[in-house]
Amino acid sequence: MIMGMNELLAETLTLGEKSGIGQQTVYDLVKGELWNAFYSTSTRN
């Protein structure tokens, strides 16, 4: 699972870099989503 997600993350970071928003921005989004998924239950409400 981590293998497939790593691959998709790599592709997404590259797309983010090419789009101009930057891979750091994409990474922060993914990181925030994972963080919310694990440590919060109210972020989407």
Binding site: I2, M3, M5, E7, T14, Q23, V30, F38
Partner: protein
Amino acid sequence: MPAPGYECYQLHYFELLKPTHDYSLVAYGNKMVNDLFDGSVGFAIDGGIKDAKSVPRVLAMDISFLYDFQSSHIHRLSSELNCPMPAGMNNSTFRHPEILIHLVVDNTHRGLITARAIHQAQVVAGTQQWDIIDWSALIASSRVAAGLHPFDSKKVSA
């Protein structure tokens, strides 16, 4: 002897997603964003390639939620930005996660092989930055395909 970092496979997959974990998606993402591809302190790429070849399909998880988008939209974005993206997922693959997993693992294997080939070419030329590269260096494959530098995100092209 197992490759460096192999102990990560002893963990439950939810542990691997935990943001604070050393082997989580967040940790590997950090390596990709900051070009930290030293395999001597991570999980060597050879180990990743070996695992990609031996992923037990019957144990593969349904990660179709990762592809919850319209492939035509991804194709359009991909074309506009000159950045290849996997967009071959459709309703059929959603209903058959084993096919989806096969596609993802195959794509991962290709990325790992490409990254290792680029690194070995650098070793031959004597321009390599690391003797062993981490498996997060698979991003080199998509970077090169998109016209970027494989191991240095600060550089615009290879």
